[in-house]
Symmetry: C2
Subunit: 307 residues, 2 copies
């Protein structure tokens, strides 16, 4: 049975609400999502930014700020550093982007003193609940790492595994994707996919099952896998994690799903950081922002448990 | 108003049925599609292959072979050469793959004496009717050309334009896709996309409007384009032709649409050849095979008109 976002939220409700530090919080869409996340028992928030503007927006959207901690800091860069420091010091369980450009937001994430570096690489994961597909799909990397090397791909997997674990998957199935499901020496993506599978087989990457290269039909459609006679593969339409060869393939598929599939749900976070980072974009829907907060909350709980 | 596959079929009905040469025709799924194409007034067929087996399959699926020309040639390679020759000589308007592996089928297409070479490169185009999207989408290249250079991309565009024209688009909008909609010198795909737009602006590529690089949301979702304030772009969610940076991006998006979007319709052909080539795969549905025949038929009619 697929655990959708409702189940993730139920899980957070069980463990207790998390706390999110919002960087430059004077953003209407972000405050709306933060308000909803509190209402649904996902997360409380510390709002860092221009307090006057925060109060103005809150009034305009009927958001009651009583009970929210507000840290007044009109300067954008200073606000981001103060907000990220809360997460750095453990006063917040997750860190969220507000009205600040991605570049400066990431600078705060990577700040050597108060940021969220762990020594590893950062990567992005987007979790999809697609109608008609039995499992949640974890797409990576569709937004952050551009042209991952084999080593990067190993690190992306290591960043993504705890996210899948937090969503209830003890040993997720990982499909390094390509246009084809067989190794073609003229396609380096297929060679690297096979190498990831070998590393998994050899015990060099653990806690998951890797089968690649895989075409998308074999990865997500059991009927297609059956039809193509892929009975000897470890993955037969039941992949959990879809590992993309590069950001173009990942981002184009991500947007095809968002803009073409009806009733799809998704939430995304940045991983490889000390706490989960929520980096939603202007074009994300309200529901996606709330789902991202829920995803970050279950991951934060998992990280706390394993700390 | 979007012209879907029903409109394409209506167009063929108007111009009159085309004729398809089937290479190694003893294939149940292919014969079923060929039978349906005749029933719908899309195409008559010349069946080249093992006559005994063709008759056996036809009997098993209740297909009346009266009125079909059958050329008995049990040898697979010989059958493919005899079939392609029919198209080469103008006795057939299109050429279709039957029970023969893709490699040998393509060998017949590329045969110097009886094949379908025109001197240009070959490329693949897949036409999609996606519910909720106002225009037909022409995806290229998702199956044939692996890592197109800038020159290849120009040729892919030149191969795809007549297909769009045949489907009623006099001056299609072309989106060279990438993960982002701005040029990033670290992403060669975006640089080449901008160069294609410049070549179009300078009159070096005509008969179309090219705007790139484009992310998929700006290419196909007018709401997203509006939301992102892309009011100065030539394409604002109304792209017709989606040009992919490589086969991985193209194929993964293609399969995401086929395996995730409900009620989607599609048909694909190989272009850059003397006549349209139908190269469906085992995993294509019956409807996709019939739609591919319809697409090939309107393209064949357009080529005849322009010859």
């Amino acid at each position: 049975m697929k655990k959708g976002f409702d189940e993730l939220i139920a899980k957070v409700n069980e463990c207790g609400m998390k706390k999110v530090a919002v960087s430059v919080a004077q953003d209407e869409a972000v405050l709306e999502a933060v308000q909803e996340a509190k209402k649904r028992g996902i997360a409380d928030a510390i709002l860092v930014g221009d307090e006057a503007k925060i109060r103005e927006i809150a009034a305009s959207i009927g958001m009651d700020l009583a009970g929210y901690e507000i840290i007044d800091e009109p300067d954008m860069i200073q606000a981001s550093l103060k907000a990220v420091k809360l997460a750095h010091e453990g006063k917040a369980d997750m860190y969220m982007k507000g009205l600040i450009d991605t570049k400066n937001f990431l600078k705060s994430v990577l700040d050597k003193e108060v940021g969220l570096r762990t020594g590893g690489v950062l990567s992005h994961v987007c979790v999809f609940d697609v109608p008609g597909i039995d499992q949640l799909l974890f797409l990576t990397d569709v937004a952050f790492m551009t042209y991952p090397t084999l080593e990067d791909k190993v690190n992306i997997i290591k960043n993504t595994l705890p996210v899948a674990n937090a969503c209830g998957l003890a040993c997720p199935k990982i499909a390094p994707l390509a246009a084809v499901e067989v190794v073609n020496p003229k396609m380096p993506e297929t060679v690297e996919a096979a190498e990831l599978a070998r590393m998994n087989e050899a015990g060099e990457i653990t806690g998951c099952i890797i089968d690649g290269p895989l075409s998308l039909d074999l990865a997500i459609d059991p009927e297609a896998a059956k039809h193509k006679g892929a009975t000897d593969r470890k993955i037969q339409g039941d992949a959990d994690i879809l590992l993309f060869p590069d950001i173009h393939a990942g981002n184009l598929v991500y947007k095809a799903i968002v803009h073409m599939v009806k009733d799809v749900k998704n939430g995304c976070i940045l991983t490889g950081t000390k706490v989960p980072v929520i980096l939603t974009s202007r074009s994300d829907t309200f529901e996606t922002k709330v789902n991202s907060l829920a995803l970050a909350a279950v991951v934060a709980e998992e990280m706390k448990k394993n700390a």
